[in-house]
Point group: C2
Chain length 301, copies 2
C-alpha cells in the first residue's frame, strides 16, 4: 500500500502548492481521492499512469477538491481511454460533469459511471475481491464524506514443510489456503492451523477531509493503520474552525488518539503559514506518530 500526495493545501492553487488530491495504491488498484484543479498535471509530474485509475472518490463539491475532475475526464477521452471510469461523489457530481461535456459538444469514448452519494450514514460504495471502500460521513459546510479503504484478508499461507510431512496432495493446497482442515487417508484430521501461517494483516487507510472536529467518526476509523486527517489551522487560528468547519492539528491528533490509529498524516494546510512543521509539533503534543503530507510526497505504508 502506498499513498502519493498530489496536493494537500487548502483553498486556491498556487505556484508551489496544489489543492487536494491523492492516489492510494492498494492491492494493485489505484484509487484517486479528490481532484482539485491541476490534478492531471500533478499525476504527470508524479509519473503515475492515468490508465490505472478506474475509481475516483470526491469528498465534497468545494472547488479545491473537484475542479480538476472535468479536465481529467476530458483528458482520458483524448488519451483514447476505453476502460470504465467510476466516480463516487456527492449528488451534483454527475450533473456538473455531463453539463460541461454537453456544452463542449463532446463525449467520452469510455463508460462513465456516477455513484452519487446522499446518505449521512456510512455505507459501502465499492467492493471487489481484494478491497472494500466505505464512506465516513464528515461535518463540513457542504455535504461531505471521507473514505475508508480496507484490504480484505488474504488467503492463508501454506506451511509447505508441514503439508509435505503429511504427504498431502497438491490438489488440496487451495482448499487449505482457504482455511479448511484436512482429513488424511488414515482418518486423522489435521487442523488448518497446523498447515498454514496467518496471512499478512489486511491494511486500512482512512481519508478524512474536510471536516470540523467530530468525535462521531472515531468508531468508524477505530484501529485503522493510517488516517489522513485535515488540519487546516494551527492553534493560533483555532477560533476560525467553527465558522469554516475545519480542524486544527491538535484536534486531528485527538481524533487519531481516540481512534487508536497507528499513524496520522496531516494535510489540507492553510496557505497562510510559511512552514508546515508547526503542524507536526502541535499534533505531537497529543499523538506521537504524526507525518506531514506535502505535494509530491509518497508514503510507503
Amino acid at each position: 500500500m502506498n499513498l502519493t500526495i498530489l496536493g494537500c493545501y487548502a483553498a486556491t492553487p498556487r505556484t508551489l502548492t496544489n489543492p487536494t488530491s491523492q492516489v492510494l495504491e492498494m492491492k494493485n488498484r489505484m484509487f484517486l481521492i479528490d481532484c482539485g484543479e491541476g490534478t492531471q498535471v500533478q499525476l504527470r509530474k508524479n509519473k503515475l499512469r492515468f490508465s490505472k485509475i478506474n475509481h475516483v472518490f470526491i469528498s465534497h463539491l468545494h472547488g479545491d477538491h473537484y475542479y480538476g475532475l472535468i479536465g481529467l475526464v476530458s483528458t482520458f477521452s483524448l488519451l483514447n481511454r476505453k476502460t470504465d471510469l467510476h466516480i463516487y461523489g456527492p449528488k451534483g457530481t454527475k450533473e456538473i460533469t455531463l453539463l460541461q461535456l454537453k456544452l463542449s459538444n463532446s463525449w467520452t469514448g469510455y463508460n462513465l459511471y456516477f455513484h452519487e452519494l446522499e446518505s449521512k450514514e456510512p455505507e459501502v460504495v465499492f467492493e471487489d475481491d481484494k478491497v472494500i471502500v466505505s464512506t465516513i460521513p464528515l461535518k463540513h459546510r457542504v455535504y461531505t464524506n471521507g473514505f475508508l479503504f480496507r484490504e480484505k484478508p488474504g488467503e492463508r499461507k501454506l506451511d509447505i514443510n508441514a503439508v509435505q510431512a503429511h504427504g498431502i496432495h497438491t490438489a488440496y493446497y487451495q482448499k487449505i489456503k482457504n482455511g479448511s482442515d484436512i482429513t488424511l487417508d488414515d482418518g486423522r484430521v489435521i487442523p488448518n492451523s497446523e498447515l498454514t501461517f496467518d496471512p499478512p494483516a489486511p491494511k486500512s487507510y482512512a481519508f478524512c477531509s474536510d471536516t470540523i472536529y467530530d468525535e462521531s467518526i472515531v468508531p468508524l476509523i477505530k484501529d485503522v493503520d493510517v488516517v489522513y486527517h485535515e488540519s487546516t489551522f494551527l492553534d493560533s487560528e483555532a477560533h476560525l474552525c467553527e465558522k469554516t468547519m475545519h480542524t486544527t492539528a491538535k484536534q486531528a491528533a485527538t481524533i487519531a488518539k481516540m481512534a487508536n490509529v497507528k499513524q496520522l498524516i496531516l494535510g489540507h494546510f492553510s496557505t497562510r503559514y510559511n512552514s508546515i512543521e508547526p503542524f507536526r509539533e502541535e499534533a505531537q503534543t497529543i499523538f506521537e506518530n504524526v507525518l506531514l503530507a506535502d505535494d509530491g510526497k509518497v508514503f510507503e505504508l
Copy 2:
C-alpha cells in the same frame, strides 16, 4: 500594449505546457482571453495582478479554453475581490459557472456579469473611452468567437511651439487637442493641423483561436497590428485540419498575408511536436513577420 501568453498549447495541460490563456494589456486595461485549466497558477507565475482583471473573454467551451474559469472566479472570492467582473463567452458560460457555485454552496462577494454570445455576425461586446472589443466569428466544432481589441484614437498632440507663437491662451489647449481649429482675436483662422501633431496610431490586436482555415475573417482583421492565429498543425498533419477544424501554420500565414496584418503570432500548438520552431519556418514561406507564442512569453507590441 503588451501580451502575456499564459498558455498556448492544444488539448490537455501537461507538465510543461498549458492550455490557452493570455493577458492583453491595452491602454492600462487588462483583458484575460480564454482560461484553460491552471490559468490562475499561470497568472501567479507571471506575476500578473489578479485584481486588475475585470474582463474575461472566452472563445468557446472546449475544456482547454475555459476549464480554469470557475477556479479563477472562486479564487477572486477568496481574495475578497469587490470589483465587478465581466465574462464574455458562449451561451452556457453562465449556467456552468452558476451551477458550480451553487453546488459548492458558495457565492461571489463581487458582482459577476455574464455577456453571453450567440450571434454569428461580428458584434461589439465591450466599449469604453479608450478601447473597443468586437467578436470575430470563427468556424470550429462548437460555437466560437475570436476577439478584436482596438484602441480608440487618442487626442491630438499639441505643437507647443506653434500654439505659443500664435499667443493662444491655455484655456483653448484641450479644444485644440480635440481637433478644433482656432480663430484668433484678429479674425484669422488657424487650422488644427498647424497646431497639432497626429496622435500615436491606435493599436489593434486580434485573437483567432480555435478555427479552421477561413478567409471570411480576412476583412474583419484587415490591417490589424498583431494577429494571434491558431496553428495546431504543421503541413505534415494538414489532413487532420478538416475533421478537427484546426489550422496549419501555412494557412494561418495565408490569412495574415491576405489581411495585410503587421505581425502574426502563432499558437495553439499540438503537443505532438517536440519543437515549435518548424511552425515559424513553415509560416515564413508565406508571410515574413511571424512570432511564436510560448507559455510565459511576453510580447511588447
